[in-house]
């Protein structure tokens, strides 16, 4: 009876298992990527493509001015007011207002899926990218950047 008990009550050696898990954990922590890099994808128009005569979809042209203010021009829409300006605050772009404005614009014009960003000389690459990001946050999917 006692020998039978001994056979059942065996001790599992957990130390190699813990060693293996520790090694896995150390390896994964060392090789982990902590800052993710992605990309903002834009679809640029190529010279051979022509839009003359085509039925253009509603679009918004966002012009980033040198003083960090924004000029928005709506094209091919039925609304009366087609120009909007969002002023900078303390020399910095008013991102909260831009974000909320673009979201409300997208809600009022559901077909608005196209946008072009024009950066004036002196506007930084970071501000231009953040503008593209704001447009994409407002679910305006086709965003292009003007090379002019």
């Amino acid at each position: 009876m006692s020998s039978f008990k001994k056979e059942i009550e065996f001790e599992l050696n957990l130390i190699p298992f813990i060693d293996m898990l520790s090694a896995c954990l150390s390896f994964l922590l060392l090789t982990a990527v902590w800052s993710y890099i992605g990309s903002i994808d834009t679809h640029q128009a190529v010279g051979a493509e022509s839009t003359s005569g085509a039925n253009n979809p509603p679009s918004v042209v966002v012009q980033v001015e040198n003083d960090k203010s924004f000029q928005l021009d709506l094209k091919d829409v039925k609304t009366k007011q087609r120009q909007f300006k969002i002023q900078a605050v303390n020399g910095e772009p008013n991102w909260d207002k831009i974000d909320s404005f673009l979201v409300s614009l997208r809600k009022s014009i559901p077909d608005l899926n196209t946008s072009v960003v024009i950066a004036k000389p002196g506007v930084s690459y970071g501000v231009t990218m953040k503008t593209v990001d704001s447009l994409r946050k407002a679910e305006i999917k086709n965003v292009g950047i003007s090379p002019i």
Partner: protein, 161 residues
């Protein structure tokens, strides 16, 4: 006398030894009972699984020194497209400095190579530049990529927290 001492001392020593052994075994039992490894192993397994899932294989990109990428909330994953870097007012592909005059021909070459590699996919290129750079300095790249027939221009960004 010696025999008397020996007969009396031996059992005393043995009993002391037995007592010591008993105490040791109690001590061992008490130590073993306090360390519960199950919860530790559970935590280890959860952390390992989390790290394995989070570090799923994706394309990576070598980031140049002195470049702080802009941040964005809505972005796509990298897809292994060729990378052009703008650093110290110069464009670079594969570590080679390219002048603005060479940009058109070099990008056309890159686009040609990409079309040969993947026939049905439109060629794309990733730009890596510092967030404080004047955007107008990057415009030769946009113009050259349009000339080279590269429609998909991607801008490298960090994930915004």
């Amino acid at each position: 006398m010696r025999t008397i001492l020996s007969t009396h001392s031996i059992p005393q020593v043995t009993t002391r030894g037995l007592l010591l052994r008993k105490n040791q075994s109690k001590l061992r039992k008490s130590i073993q009972s306090t360390i519960t490894l199950t919860s530790l192993i559970d935590a280890f397994v959860i952390i390992v699984l989390y790290l394995v899932v989070c570090n799923s294989p994706s394309e990576t990109m070598d980031l140049e020194d002195q470049i702080t990428l802009p941040q964005a909330k809505v972005f796509n994953q990298l897809d292994g497209s060729p990378v052009i870097t703008f650093k110290n007012n110069q464009f670079m592909i594969d570590g080679q400095i390219i002048s603005e005059a060479q940009l058109n021909s070099r990008l056309a070459q890159v686009a040609g190579n990409l079309k040969l590699k993947v026939e049905n996919k439109e060629p794309s290129i990733i730009l890596q530049a510092d967030e404080n750079v004047d955007f107008h300095k990057l415009q030769p790249f946009l113009t050259a990529s349009a000339h080279a027939g590269i429609k998909n221009v991607k801008f490298a960004v960090y994930q915004q927290e």
